[in-house]
């Protein structure tokens, strides 16, 4: 009697496990299909120097240069009510232009559900335009013609880019590493960080963010850095050759480089708040401006 009761117990408890395993085996492919459905991968043949644009609301965008004459994109979305729209111009043959945009199908989708993450590989010489409202943007190893990146709150990181780079974020931090060509970086509250630039021209402005410049000033380069209330740190090698014009209205100016002071241009600022001179032969031109922030110049 006890054995029969035990057998019955085993049978009744084994049944739900079996059903569970069976149901799971049915559900698994469905889950995989659903995951696949939120990920889109596309490849387009591209003409020389194509133009690629991306418009996104939230999510990370990563763009890398590669040696194929193709634009390859992988896009993952969080919600099935968000999709990737792509437009190729011309419709047949190698693309001169490829436009990607995140399309929110349901206006009720909000917050993180709007997220779409992009990963792109683009040919060298690509002309890039990226707008990502609340997402971060990263560009790596790209020899481009022109790249424009704009965000509202997302961070922007560009490394090993050659060409004309225009980056702007209202509240996000901007980092530009080993850029060559011409760089323009603007933010209101974000920090700006430049590492080892080889740029011929650099324009950088932030209102309350901090500016950190680490690297040399290549010969003939023209560098203009301006912030309103954040601090500015310039760290350069002893071999840097530049002509300096630095001024701050209410902040301090701390210089640890052996600058040869030149004739001070007409300015109401005291010598404690402004510095005009050359380091070595003054081959690059460096202009540093702040209203109430501190400017520090020192050797690496």
């Amino acid at each position: 009697m006890a054995d029969r009761h035990q057998q019955k117990t085993i049978k009744t408890t084994a049944f739900p496990y079996g059903v569970g395993i069976f149901l799971c085996s049915l559900a698994l492919p469905g889950l995989l299909v659903a995951a696949e459905g939120n990920r889109v991968e596309k490849t387009f043949e591209a003409a020389p120097n194509p133009r690629v644009t991306i418009s996104n609301a939230r999510g990370q965008i990563l763009v890398r240069g590669w040696d194929k004459q193709q634009v390859h994109i992988v896009c993952s979305v969080v919600s099935p009510r968000v999709e990737l729209d792509s437009e190729v111009i011309p419709p047949g043959g190698p693309a001169d232009k490829v436009h990607f945009s995140t399309h929110i199908l349901d206006p009720l989708v909000s917050g993180k559900d709007q997220t779409a993450d992009y990963s792109l590989d683009v040919p060298m010489g690509t002309d890039l335009e990226i707008r990502d409202t609340q997402g971060s943007v990263k560009i790596e190893k790209l020899q481009g013609d022109d790249a424009t990146v704009e965000t509202v709150g997302g961070a922007i990181v560009v490394s090993d880019f050659t060409g004309h780079l225009f980056v702007r974020s209202i509240g996000g931090n901007i980092e530009v590493i080993r850029a060559a060509g011409r760089v323009e970086a603007y933010s209101i509250t974000g920090d700006l960080h430049f590492v080892s630039p080889a740029t011929s021209k650099l324009r950088a402005t932030t209102t309350s963010g901090r500016i950190l410049f680490e690297g040399d000033f290549p010969d003939g380069g023209d560098y203009s850095l301006s912030e309103y209330s954040g601090d500015m740190d310039i760290i350069c090698p002893p071999s840097a050759s530049f002509e300096l014009n630095a001024k701050t209205d209410r902040g301090k100016l701390e210089n640890a480089m052996p600058i040869t002071i030149r004739h001070q241009p007409a300015t109401p600022l005291s010598s404690a708040n402004s510095l005009f001179g050359t380091h070595l032969t003054g081959k690059a031109t460096v202009s540093l401006k702040s209203f109430s922030g501190t400017i520090r110049i020192r050797q690496r």
């Binding site: 209202i170 209205d249 109401p268």
Partner: protein, 231 residues
């Protein structure tokens, strides 16, 4: 030319109808035949071609952010952004913008006409007059009036700010916070620069940063309004 005008025929009317398509690159044999027969229409065609050539050689100048901010504020004030099917879609329906050559030619002629008929101004006298009118104003106001060409960037910013306040509720909380932080940061700089200019009217750095802060504020507000509309 009046003499030729008197001999205007039905062919001239047809020529006018077909000229636009011909200039867009379509094959229109009638236009070619008529050009050989009618001196007036030939002159008109040559003028339009010359205008198109001149227009294509004009450099593309990017207006300052203040100009776009001004345009946006005006359009916003006129309710152009209230509905998606606004003034732009109405313009588009007119089919004018799809035919750029005649429109560009017309615009050039219009601009030329305005330039030729406008009364001659004396900028130096005007500048002196406007500076004289500002004599009693505080230094900061004079600075703004000078840098923004007298139209008042400050006023544009105020209008944009009102439009932003009316719509900020529709922004996602994190986006709204980013915009508000930035605007507050710019407001601090505007206030401090104004204070500085009250004490030292000749402070060029304060003038520079004050103008930059207003321009940036206009850009940030424009960006917020665009974002709102793009949702």
């Amino acid at each position: 030319m009046d003499e030729i005008r008197r001999h205007r025929t039905a062919e001239c009317d047809r020529f006018e109808l077909e000229l636009e398509a011909y200039m867009e690159g379509e094959v229109r044999p009638f236009v070619l035949v008529h050009l050989r027969e009618c001196v007036f229409c030939k002159v008109v065609s040559e003028d339009l071609l010359a205008l198109r050539t001149a227009a294509s050689e004009l450099p593309l100048e990017e207006p300052s952010p203040a100009v776009w901010a001004n345009v946006r504020a005006r359009l916003s004030a006129e309710g152009a952004f209230a509905e998606k099917e606004g003034v732009w879609s109405w313009l588009w329906q007119l089919d004018l913008l799809r035919r750029p050559v005649p429109v560009a030619a017309f615009a050039c002629m219009l601009a030329l006409g305005c330039w030729m008929t406008a009364p001659r101004n004396y900028p130096q006298l005007e500048a002196s007059a406007s500076l004289a009118a500002l004599e009693g104003q505080p230094a900061a106001v004079r600075s703004m009036s000078f840098v923004s060409g007298g139209t008042g960037l400050e006023q544009v910013v105020r209008e944009l700010e009102e439009a932003f306040k009316a719509r900020e509720g529709s922004l996602a909380p994190d986006v709204k916070a980013t915009y508000e932080n930035s605007l507050s940061s710019l407001d601090v700089s505007i206030r401090e620069c104004n204070d500085s200019l009250q004490r030292e009217p000749g402070n060029s750095l304060a003038h520079e940063y004050l103008f930059a802060a207003y321009s940036q504020k206009a850009e940030v507000l424009s960006s917020a309004l665009e974002f709102d509309e793009g949702r």
